[in-house]
């Protein structure tokens, strides 16, 4: 998070807003700026509790990933903070204030599916969005080029593939260069090339200092784009923190040998040993700190064990996600 700001210290526009945060003159004010503050938010649909006492805060410049299996409350959360859904309990503040049309105009958002008039072309659809957002119509060409839709701009929306519709939704959210971008499953329905393009696009927007809040069930995507992450399951927050924290504190190594029992016994004595489990014929060991394969190999050889397999498993968000959701009871629906 901190390094993020060192590299991208924000856009000049930030000077004009939030001049109230001048109580810490020693630090650049943008460091501490709360964009969104969610407190104790709950929402139920009849008997189904979609969201339970959610607390969350997002600071300026963060690329915040909202992770969770389908039905975990991601879209509900985004719906509430965008004023589309009424929460049963709890409160949230944008830019330190209650939600108003004014604050919504500082946010570009897509929620669930792309929402456009099927019989209008891309330009006409975006004209309507631009008028509602009070942004300049001349910005339309820029966002269409950014999302690779410029060549098809005169075609009616209903002739678009799902991927193009999704890109048009992102184009609409980018209109007027908002301070905050909210993306609900932005790569849904895109092909691998499209996913890569959108990822690049989001990274570019983030690099300009835009705060991004993104819901996704694609862990790989969040890992590649996000600086911070919150994990939701069945409406509850299981974890919130920086992606680096998730990925850095432990590493895993896969070890194979003739005798699994001997290997297990030996690895437990390894100095950086944290925990282990057997998976598909290998011992999967977690170590404290960085894993050094050569050191482990040497250690085992001295114990009279010859490795038949040795590989580092790069800690991925997916593993972490599976762990955290599984350990909190219930079956894991993550795909």
């Amino acid at each position: 998070m901190f390094s993020f700001f060192v590299i991208f210290p924000g856009r000049p526009r930030q000077k004009t807003e939030h001049q109230t945060t001048n109580h810490q003159p020693t630090e650049p004010t943008i460091l501490k700026q709360q964009i969104l503050d969610i407190e104790n938010l709950s929402k139920s649909y009849g008997k189904l509790e979609a969201l339970k006492e959610l607390d969350l805060s997002v600071e300026r410049g963060q690329v915040f990933g909202l992770l969770g299996p389908n039905g975990s409350g991601k879209t509900t959360t985004l719906g509430i903070i965008l004023g589309a859904l009424h929460p049963n309990r709890g409160d949230f503040r944008w830019f330190g204030e209650r939600l108003t049309e004014k604050s919504l105009k500082r946010i570009g958002a897509i929620l669930e599916h792309p929402n456009f008039y099927p019989y209008l072309n891309a330009v006409d659809n975006l004209k309507i969005v631009a008028r509602i957002r009070n942004s300049d119509v001349s910005d339309i060409d820029r966002v269409l080029r950014l999302t690779n839709l410029y060549d098809r701009r005169q075609h009616r929306y209903q002739t678009y593939s799902y991927g193009m519709k999704q890109r048009l939704a992102i184009a609409g959210a980018l209109l007027g260069n908002p301070e905050v971008l909210i993306l609900d499953e932005p790569t849904n329905g895109l092909d691998p090339l499209g996913i890569a393009e959108i990822r690049e696009l989001i990274a570019g927007v983030a690099a300009e200092g835009t705060t991004i809040i993104m819901a996704s069930h694609l862990l790989d995507e969040v890992q590649k784009i996000c600086s911070h992450v919150a994990v939701l399951k069945q409406g509850r927050k299981l974890f919130a923190g920086s992606v680096d924290d998730v990925l850095n504190n432990t590493e895993t190594i896969l070890v194979g040998a003739e005798s699994m029992e001997a290997l297990e016994a030996a690895l437990i004595e390894y100095p950086d040993y944290q925990s282990h489990k057997i998976s598909s014929g290998f011992v999967e060991m977690k170590s404290n700190g960085v894993v050094r394969p050569a050191e482990i190999n040497h250690f085992l050889f001295e114990k009279g064990i010859v490795c038949t397999h040795l590989s580092i498993r790069k800690k991925s968000l997916e593993n972490y996600f599976l762990e955290i959701t599984a350990s909190n009871g219930g079956t894991n629906q993550a795909s």
Partner: protein, 272 residues
């Protein structure tokens, strides 16, 4: 809400319908049917009169549909039979916003719910006034083709029927609007609308005493332009009101306000 806001909202609505072929096709068909009905009315009535006269013991005189000032009441009365078509148009325009989920997008993009309601109410008002004007122009043309201009007769008290018809349409379309906002899907809205207007309210009006039945919304709309007195009516000694009653206009206006406020309440209360 100042004038600048209203024109801004209206132009946004214009962008939505400008290239919407279904809308223009339906609007065109309605306009054609309306004009056809208005301009062929005399011919149809003459034909009926001739047919009746072959069997009737009493000679029935021809009824001059387009003579001033009766033309205003005659045409607005007959146009009332086609008013469900603009209602369908409004239902489609409103439910589209829910089907395409563009309403939701507009709200999360920073549009006020009130703005959305204002936009649709403006569309209703424009359609109502536009249709009344079209009938007015048609009446003027048809009348002047038959008789020499007589300023006194043209600008008589009966000219108020054009305004009455505009109010009739406005209230009627606001009723269609609230159903559209309530059900959010065109199919179900149109079915409920037809069921209510042609069956449920008809039964209620039939069952209830007149003093109560006239307060029902669509009945109140229909009462704004009463059936014109024809020579035939006079033969049978029946006489209908020649003017719009202030009470009926008041009932319609109150209903339109109630619908507007109910829609506002619905938009505020409901999740998108």
């Amino acid at each position: 809400m100042n004038i600048r806001n209203l024109t801004y909202i209206l132009y946004t609505e214009w962008l939505k319908v400008r290239n919407y072929r279904t809308f223009w096709l339906l609007a065109g068909l309605y306009t054609l049917t309306l004009l056809l009905l208005l301009f062929s009315l005399q011919g149809i009535l003459n034909n009926v009169t001739v047919n009746i006269n072959t069997k009737s013991p009493l000679p029935i005189p021809e009824y001059p549909v387009y003579s001033f000032p009766g033309v205003w009441q005659n045409l607005t009365y007959i146009a009332g039979f086609l008013k469900m078509f603009p209602a369908f148009l409004i239902i489609i325009l409103i439910t589209n916003e829910f089907t395409f989920t563009t309403y939701k997008q507009q709200i999360i993009s920073g549009s006020r719910r009130m703005e959305f309601l204002t936009a649709k109410t403006l569309m209703v008002a424009i359609l109502s006034v536009g249709i009344a004007l079209l009938i007015g122009i048609s009446g003027m043309i048809a009348g002047l083709l038959q008789q020499s201009p007589d300023y006194e007769a043209i600008v008589s008290r009966k000219l108020i029927f054009l305004a009455s018809h505009a109010l009739e349409l406005f209230t009627y379309l606001m009723f269609a609007s609230i159903l559209a906002f309530l059900f959010r899907r065109a199919g179900i809205t149109i079915i409920v609308f037809l069921l209510y207007s042609f069956i449920i309210e008809r039964i209620l009006v039939f069952r209830l005493p007149d003093a109560v039945g006239r307060f029902l919304p669509l009945e109140a709309c229909s009462n704004l332009v009463p059936l014109p007195n024809s020579a035939l009516m006079k033969i049978f000694g029946v006489s209908f009101s020649e003017y719009t009653s202030v009470a009926d206009a008041g009932i319609c206006f109150v209903w339109a306000m109630i619908f507007y406020l109910l829609i506002y309440w619905l938009l505020r209360k409901r999740d998108l």
